[in-house]
């Protein structure tokens, strides 16, 4: 854009920024305490709405003045609802409180805001270094993270564009608008940014391809379909800082020459839909989006499209079809979307995290970005870590950190003194890795080499009680259901895989099943039309490779080593330990499968038992008499007194 234009842009943006700074200063300098409450879906699910209400009520009741600042997600799911109280008059630094129930909220208002007592027993940590309270940055869950994409998540109000601008937001768009589009693309290319939607395609190259298409009408799509079970990175970003994603989209559109853009978000994410829609409206109102952005000659209209939540619609060609109003079925590529995309127009599709990485990259420069992460995978990786791990939640780490560091240092390891068994990375299309891989660095190429994949960032940690055949069955059940049904391999092949896995977990495996799983998986990988089918066998192939003995135990001995598969396990009571006259197990058994032996101990009627494990929980720890075994025939014979005795007894 011409220098004339540059001046207009600066003028216009400076007015907006001044207003933002004024508002922020007014908030900051107000002589009252501030209460920051995490209010993304995760917080709300843990009761943040009730917590907020409790704060409001308590403030009125105690006649205390304070400002409530609703923010997005900090990523610390294990600690929700999370609240930070900044009460300078108390002499304490801002304090991070976890699991703030309404009761805790009322108490904190009264005792901390009212009496200046921060209630040490409830403190998680101070948010900054200080002399009085240990800081959260002492914990590796905080200090080993590197927040680039999520830097502002949990710090700003996602519903207030001025909050984002005051934190430096949209200044990168201003800078980009004063560069040539080619320079913007070059910077992104130099940064080495790779797509965070799964495949890791170089973003700069994608933009360059789109730029080089002569056609005028181009489209940018932000892919927020996020269909992996258990993954919520994109949702959290959209709910915590939608403007950073919009800023990335605007920069992308400017660089490739698009005037139209879309956020494709599943309708199961109502809060994300609402917040993004609201963010677009606010940006348009301020002239940061829409016609003549910041008084320049660049126009961009961003719309929100709500998908119906099919996993396959995250695949870019299916996504396009679904926007066009067709059944969400993938199509053969090439042509790639950058050549022929939505309504046959050149279309750049990028993941939420990819686009949200763009403003920090342009802001700090490609060299800075390259300095984070590894040679071939620069930048950070965002994972939603769930399963058997102490500090579950969203984590942003530099690429190259080992799985061990992530799981054991940053996320606190495996709970309940259990042993680590496997980690599933990359969602349903990823792979299960065993402990031999714990020192694998997390980056695109290392994970792919190990047979897993980066995917979009889902990570499930599993302990020793997890059966890998069952895990493979679970993921296949998902992919099989989510197959669009178009191509032969995926539609029928994954169904066979599922059926075979199902019969293995039931002890009904047939001769040659493992070999069949293997060859069929390989053919589905090579033969399928789209990424869904091509990657669906990954959980099967990796678990077969790294946990083969477990498959063999199921197939040959009808045994489940992890004691997880119900059909292959049975319960009994160790009569040496079982306490005479104790009825704990019998009273909790939902199917009356527990009987009393002739010497008033307990036995299990195997015919009736549904293997729910309630007795295991109910048996008092001082007896610890319940045993679970596999295969079921290992259960010792315990004589059941004749039925009529029981009746007589009554």
């Amino acid at each position: 854009m011409s220098p004339d234009n540059h001046k207009n842009i600066d003028l216009k943006f400076n007015t907006i920024r001044k207003e933002a700074e004024k508002r922020r200063a007014a908030f900051r300098d107000a002589p009252v305490p501030k209460i920051h409450i995490g209010m993304a879906t995760c917080g709300i699910a843990s009761g943040a709405l009730e917590t907020k209400k409790a704060f409001e009520e308590a403030l009125v009741e105690n006649n205390i003045e304070a400002r409530i600042h609703t923010v997005g997600c900090f990523g610390h799911c294990y600690a929700e609802p999370v609240v930070i109280i900044d009460h300078p008059d108390s002499g304490f630094p801002p304090i991070f409180y976890h699991e703030v129930t309404p009761g805790k909220a009322k108490m904190l208002v009264k005792l901390f805001l009212g009496d200046g007592d921060p209630r040490f027993e409830h403190i998680y940590g101070a948010t900054e270094e200080n002399e009085l309270i240990p800081s959260v940055t002492d914990f590796s869950r905080f200090n080993q993270e590197k927040r680039i994409v999520m830097e502002k998540c949990g710090r700003i109000d996602p519903e207030d564009i001025y909050d984002y601008i005051a934190a430096g937001g949209y200044s990168t768009l201003v800078r980009a608008l004063k560069l040539d589009p080619e320079e913007v693309i070059k910077e992104v290319e130099h940064s080495g940014l790779r797509g965070r939607g799964g495949a890791g395609f170089p973003t700069g190259r994608k933009w360059k391809l789109a730029k080089s298409v002569i056609e005028q009408d181009k489209i940018v799509i932000c892919n927020a379909d996020e269909g992996d079970p258990g993954a919520y990175m994109d949702r959290t970003i959209l709910e915590s800082n939608p403007h950073q994603v919009l800023e990335g989209m605007a920069i992308c559109a400017y660089a490739v020459g698009a005037q139209q853009a879309m956020v494709y978000v599943r309708s199961e994410y109502p809060l994300a839909v609402k917040l993004v829609t609201n963010a677009i409206q606010q940006a348009e109102k301020l002239g940061i989006l829409g016609k003549g952005i910041l008084d320049s000659t660049f126009d961009l209209k961003i719309d929100v499209f709500q998908g119906s939540g099919a996993f396959v619609c995250g695949e870019e060609t299916a996504l396009i079809r679904s926007i066009e109003g067709y059944r969400g079925m993938p199509r053969h590529r090439p042509p790639y979307p950058v050549q022929k995309g939505l309504w046959d127009k050149p279309t750049v599709i990028n993941n939420v995290k990819t686009l949200a990485s763009v403003p920090p990259i342009l802001n700090h420069g490609a060299t800075w970005y390259r300095g984070i992460g590894t040679q071939n995978s620069p930048g950070t990786a965002i994972f939603s870590i769930v399963g058997n791990v102490v500090h579950a939640g969203l984590v942003e780490i530099p690429m190259g950190v080992s799985l061990r560091t992530l799981i054991f240092d940053i996320c606190g390891g495996i709970p309940n003194n259990k042993k680590f068994k496997a980690v599933q990375i990359g969602g349903p299309s990823g792979g299960c890795l065993n402990e031999d891989f714990l020192d694998t660095p997390i980056d695109f190429d290392s994970l792919t080499k190990a047979g897993a994949m980066m995917g979009s960032g889902g990570m499930v940690v599993m302990d020793e009680d997890t059966c890998m055949v069952e895990v493979a069955r679970y993921f296949l059940d998902f992919t099989q259901k989510e197959s669009c049904g178009k191509c032969t391999f995926c539609r029928i092949g994954t169904y066979h895989l599922l059926k075979i896995l199902r019969r293995l977990t039931k002890g009904e495996g047939l001769e040659g099943d493992l070999e069949l799983l293997e060859t069929l998986s390989q053919d589905i990988q090579t033969g399928s039309l789209c990424g869904l089918g091509k990657t669906a066998p990954n959980p099967v192939l990796t678990s077969l490779k790294y946990f083969r003995n477990e498959y063999e135990a199921h197939a040959k001995e009808k045994r489940c080593p992890a004691l997880m598969c119900r059909a292959l396990t049975a319960f009994y009571f160790d009569l040496e330990l079982c306490a005479r006259g104790c009825d704990a197990c019998a009273t909790c058994c939902p199917v009356d499968a527990v009987f009393t032996t002739s010497n008033r101990k307990k036995g299990v009627d195997q015919e009736l038992c549904v293997k729910c494990g309630e007795c295991l929980v109910a048996c008092p720890p001082e007896y610890d008499a319940v045993r679970k075994v596999s295969p079921p025939h290992l259960v010792p014979y315990i004589e059941k007194p004749p039925e009529k005795n029981k009746k007589d007894h009554k």
Binding site: R327, H332, K486
Partner: protein, 214 residues
């Protein structure tokens, strides 16, 4: 412009703009296929049968998705290709009601032809057979549909849409349950089906038939 390709060590000539599959078929080189339709801009590529190996490309590719290039070197019968074709066929047969004697497409059926060509028996050996409950879907006023014969190639859907602007037949449900459905069309007067029959002709197997009465 005419192009020369080398397919299975045999030189063939073809015109620019053709798909590799079409070029081979034009030159009497048979490649198994079920969903391919000539002159469709973007092939469905869903049956996963027409794999070939092309020099310079690691893995087999469906030849319907490839535009011919001059001096392309192609092999249609490598072990890799045959492996995929046989598995695809076996998968299709594992959900197929193999009852050829009672099927109107007997001896005029692409599945039979391909099985013969690939030397695959019609009864699956290693794969279990899973059939749908509905044997005949008779909801359409003029057509009967046999879900357990259908290979879901989509030809009928495409042809119908091409002819009538809007398809009476369409895909319904998802994944393994995907079927061709008419969504219970009720307005008989709006249907041109009685004297069309294009879908029945397009079906490579015996999954569609005009009702006796119509």
């Amino acid at each position: 412009m005419m192009l020369k390709l080398l397919v299975d060590n045999q030189e063939i000539e073809t015109r620019e703009g053709k798909t590799l599959l079409q070029a081979c078929l034009d030159n009497q080189i048979y490649i198994p296929n079920l969903c391919y339709l000539e002159n469709v801009e973007r092939p469905s590529a869903s049956c996963r049968m027409c794999f070939v190996e092309i020099e310079g490309i690691k893995q087999p590719v469906p030849s319907c998705t490839v535009q011919v290039r001059d001096e392309m070197v192609v092999k249609t019968d490598t072990p890799g290709v045959r492996q995929l074709q046989r598995t695809a066929l076996r998968l299709l047969l594992s959900v197929h009601d193999v009852d050829c004697k009672n099927c109107h497409a007997n001896k005029n059926c692409e599945l039979q032809n391909i099985a013969k060509f690939l030397k695959v028996g019609l009864k699956p050996k290693r794969l279990e057979r899973y059939l749908k409950e509905t044997q005949i879907d008779e909801t359409h006023p003029f057509l009967n549909h046999y879900p357990n014969r259908c290979v879901l190639c989509g030809k009928c859907v495409h042809i119908c849409r091409g002819k009538h602007g809007q398809s009476v037949l369409t895909f319904a449900k998802r994944g393994f349950d995907t079927v061709i459905s008419t969504y219970s069309v009720t307005d008989v007067s709006s249907l041109a089906c009685s004297d069309c029959g294009s879908c029945v002709k397009a079906c490579p197997v015996g999954a569609l038939a005009l009702k006796e009465s119509s």
